[in-house]
Symmetry: C7
């Protein structure tokens, strides 16, 4: 198994994406590529346990990501 | 679907572009490439919910982008 | 021996992953690639000697990693 | 249209170049390449709405650029 | 002689590895690659002249390294 | 014209090199390459309008450069 | 002449290496490669005009270097 296979398994499921600088996004993983660029639908910005913003469909640039968790 | 396909769907529509360092731009996506370099027309700088500057046509360098949202 | 051979030996064993910016994760190494992207299962965030969060299965982006220790 | 086509259209016209770290330059775009390295003639450093320095002909390194606006 | 030849000469000997952000590690160099990824065995974290932590076998990511000294 | 052609024209002439982090160097451009690595002879460190240090012949790494001005 | 030719001329001579983050090293240049990775022998850490540490033989990673001066 390779790390990107985990993303394949997460497709169309909710994931938590932790960003550099401390923000997190939660949403359904609709697409990814080998740079870890992600598309999240129904994306919410999360700070601690609170939802702070709704972003809807979001393309997240891979190089700002620290980790992705189902 | 790949992440850049979402940009294809956003062409000629308004998008919100969140930058590293906390600035955001809102404008119509006129062009993009595989580095996520974007061209926005009618671009506005947005801080919170306020428009702070009008930049018109803008080429945004992809590596400063955190996320793009329709 | 090359550095990535150490990761091969760590597969399915617990590792500690120290991140840029001071966070650490502990979990079982389920997968890795040549960019040092890692998949940890049963991952916990660790600050000092305290477990501060449970992240479960986690894909950690290689370029945020400082070191990996079995 | 690709993002760099916008630079082609800006050739020999005045552009505003916003840099990482908050500085901006204004000048006539004389040349560019695919890394977004730019040559500005008659370049001025701009802070807010004030011109703070005159740099004349300037080669600006692409990876310090946030956005370019005509 | 090329810089990596010095690492070849350091194999199985103690080295000091100075990291970006101010931490240092001391340990026996067991492996390296062309990205300066290193494997240290018996690794210790060093702050000033004090040993602050024992990490055992450690894979250190090359792009966090400032210098390596035998 | 491409941006590096400007460096060709600056060869053996005095240039000002603005660095990331706020330092500047002034000196005669003796050599450059496609990474914008530069060799300056008679180089001086400049802060504001004051010369703060003399560095003589200096190889400046391109990725620390913000702009180069004749 | 290309910038790396200056390093060729500096081989086996003392150089000053200014690093990102403000540290400097002084030592005899024993080796270099195209990434500007350097090997310094008899290396000393220098702050202002004071020698603050002796590092002996040191492999300095090129991407932490700002400039190299004979």
């Amino acid at each position: 198994m390779k790390p990107l296979d985990v993303l394949q398994q997460c497709l169309h499921k909710r994931v938590l994406v932790e960003m550099k600088g401390g923000r997190s996004y939660r949403g359904v993983l609709d697409a990814y590529d080998q740079h870890l660029n992600l598309v999240l639908s129904g994306a919410e910005e999360v700070v601690g346990s609170e939802v702070t913003a709704h972003a809807g469909l979001t393309l997240v640039r891979g190089d700002s990501i620290v980790y992705i968790s189902p």
